[in-house]
Symmetry: C2
């Protein structure tokens, strides 16, 4: 006589992409009488697109609700007990329970789990500068951040915005503020915008942004935010200048939000993210999984662990976690470091290693940079693009690609992402059978032109 089947309880910490993908997938695989699913979310929303916030702030997306893929109510009707505005304050690994606090009532409670998913996301970097907490200084990580920023814009006296940081968020917020009719200054600590690119490619982004009327100040960090008599931010100060601001936006980057996990004794990596195996199970913990912006992932090109905060990975990892918890089997093999973005009509894409990553990984390399167009040169709307390709010396194996250009540039990086995943050489890439027709590509696709030039560099380097 077998024992009656116990109803398991799955607890999820974090109600955004990774957490709710995991919960939803587990629910698809396991009925409510087999598994109870409770999800704790500190904020008021679930399953929203943080990546969409700049477009909502800029007015390209008209309503906040459009960024919400699935509300708490929708999750509840699907059998997931979502508890919003409820923060998990402790994870008791030995006891198999979490302590939560209702942010409105202050009430605390312990909830036991059979399986736990940690999907606490990332937190924006917020350097301890004088004035950083003043009204008028905004991050853009959550929907509440977006609301607060829009409130500031509605009440702003002037039209000067200073964006601190020139990564993806910085670029996208620069565009958003231009759309809102602001004069935009970007204060950037790096040598050029987009430190995820090599500086020579970042320089192209700089020049294009300048051409859009954005003031880009490189090589200088914000040291303070000055406030006015009303206590509101009025300028961003750097070592050698002061930039008047009616609104300040922080886009300096993010770090894994793993304070809770760290206090619970779960293993963290050198970037501060949770360490998991390929099934997204936290190392050394049979019944705890983690995914999304709070984990480190394997970089398939360098072989080392990285932190990459991107909704697309969070969704995939969540689904993998849910599949494994539901009794299936799935793994997340790793990333190659693909990212795309845009600032107005300039598209920016990268995948794989930069030169400095290759050096750090001990890989000798050659580079090739070419210019081409998104369509046949004679076809209207053909956009210019620059493609930089990095290949390993001698073996010719593709190491990385960066693309800067106009319409049709960014998603071409996907060809390189697949090639990196498959371990292709640039010689193999030269003859890739990519789609050709005049409205879509020159007869040699720009990626192939770059591969051809990189292959010649490999040949020259092999002789050397």
């Amino acid at each position: 006589m077998s024992a009656p089947k116990q109803r398991e309880r799955l607890v999820v910490i974090g109600g955004d992409a990774a957490g709710m993908s995991a919960a939803s997938q587990a629910r698809r695989m396991r009925a409510s009488d087999e598994m109870e699913i409770i999800a704790f979310e500190r904020g008021g929303f679930t399953s929203f697109s943080a990546c969409g916030i700049p477009y909502w702030v800029g007015g390209t997306v008209d309503e906040m609700d459009r960024l919400v893929a699935r509300s708490p109510e929708e999750h509840r009707t699907r059998g997931i007990d979502v508890r919003t505005r409820t923060e998990v304050t402790d994870v008791d690994v030995a006891g198999g329970r979490v302590r939560s606090r209702d942010l409105d009532s202050g009430a605390e409670a312990w909830t036991g789990y059979d399986r736990l998913v940690i999907a606490t996301g990332a937190r924006p970097l917020r350097p301890p500068l004088p004035g950083i907490d003043a009204p008028g200084v905004h991050g853009v990580q959550t929907l509440d951040d977006g609301k607060a920023l829009l409130d500031t814009l509605r009440g702003a006296r002037g039209r000067r915005a200073v964006v601190v940081g020139a990564g993806y968020i910085g670029l996208e917020m620069a565009e958003a503020m231009l759309h809102r009719g602001y004069e935009v200054t970007v204060v950037n600590a790096g040598r050029a915008p987009m430190s995820t690119l090599d500086p020579d490619m970042g320089r192209l982004v700089h020049d294009a942004m300048t051409g859009m009327g954005i003031t880009v100040v490189n090589g200088t960090a914000a040291t303070a935010i000055l406030t006015g008599a009303d206590g509101r931010a009025r300028a961003v100060v750097t070592d050698d200048a002061e930039y008047p601001a009616d609104v300040v936006i922080l886009g300096i980057g993010v770090r894994p939000e793993t304070a809770l996990a760290g206090e619970a004794g779960l293993p963290l990596g050198e970037h501060g993210g949770l360490l998991t195996d390929l099934s997204m199970r936290v190392r050394g913990h049979e019944n705890i999984w983690a995914g999304g912006d709070c984990v480190e992932v394997l970089d398939l090109v360098s072989g080392s662990l990285r932190h990459v905060a991107l909704g697309t990975h969070a969704n995939k990892q969540g689904q993998i976690i849910g599949t494994n918890i539901g009794g299936g089997y799935a793994t997340f093999p790793g990333v190659v470091g693909t990212a795309v973005s845009k600032v107005c009509d300039l598209e920016v894409a990268r995948t794989g290693l930069r030169e400095k990553d290759a050096l750090a990984a001990g890989r000798q390399y050659v580079t090739a940079t070419i210019e081409s167009t998104s369509r046949a040169g004679y076809y209207p709307g053909a956009g210019q693009m620059t493609v930089k390709m990095i290949a390993e010396r001698r073996t010719g194996r593709l190491l990385g690609v960066q693309i800067i250009g106009r319409e049709g540039a960014a998603k071409r990086v996907d060809v390189a992402a697949v090639a990196l995943t498959a371990g292709l050489t640039v010689e193999q890439m030269v003859n890739l059978d990519l789609g050709y027709a005049p409205p879509f590509s020159p007869v040699w696709d720009p990626v192939l032109v770059a591969a051809r030039k990189a292959f010649r560099a490999v040949q020259a380097g092999t002789r050397a």
Copy 2:
């Protein structure tokens, strides 16, 4: 004492993409005192984009000259002796010489060669129908064809165009004639437009074309072209109807132009194309190469030979031939069958095997069809697309992808083209690190959504 180095002579037959790419690459590698290069071209132009003709006829490209990448004069200044309006009428393989005829003077001459490149291209199918040679019936293969068609349009009395054939040329010419303000009827022998797609996907093209105001008649072949009292085409006749036409455009397909090669005893395949090895050397002939629309190529997915007339392959093969003739080493590994096209704002793409190709190759398969969008659903301009994926049963290896949709659909097929080249499974594709940002993709790229569904079908089929 070594013999003085002999100056070699390279003869090229055909002055378009493959021939002139071969000549140009050979010239880059071998100086004029080492190698004389003579290129014979029957027409008046060299290195032109036949793929661009529909856009010139439709008025999207304003001048014919824009389709010419390099004129005969430009080639001559680069040390290639181009002889236009000169047709090669015989290849004497044993004697190592070709006979040519000046089309203006009628003068004939023999020219010896050390190395020969055959790049005679393809000829459009022109069924022997009554009236097919009447004025007002046009192919769109050469720039002269385009000129003649534009002359007809300038003199046309009415605004009714009938396009015979619904492949790439048929679609592109339907668009061109719509742009010119014509009422367009497409007469198509197949069950649905685009026989390079599965019929279920072709049906989507049909519906979209109908929505554009194009009359698409499927399952019926043209049997005759009626002419008026002036001798000009006035209607296209099928088994059961008659379609009035002020202009008739033929887009039925092409076959390798290999009459000359066949008469010379060179090896032809079952599709009528020249047979070469991977270095593009004609099989069994040490000093003869062939490339472009006149050869058969290896299909890397099915393992069989195909005929694929596409400028992108012609250019690559020409460059490979030139490299090998110049003393280097390069190979053309084969194709996976990628093609992209559009009719107005509908994009059409395919790569790999259709269902019937898989059946013919003895491959059991599963299919998955999904609908998604080109951008995040909330981002303006997100275009709908349908992605069909075919994967091998049990192994899950990708066999083919077809995509129909609006802006941003077609070039997504490149991801599948690389995956096919690398032999990836659909499971491997689910976690591909493709570029994600709201203006460029939903958080799950449509190709990944299709891969995920195909993987589930593989799993279900594996259990069966």
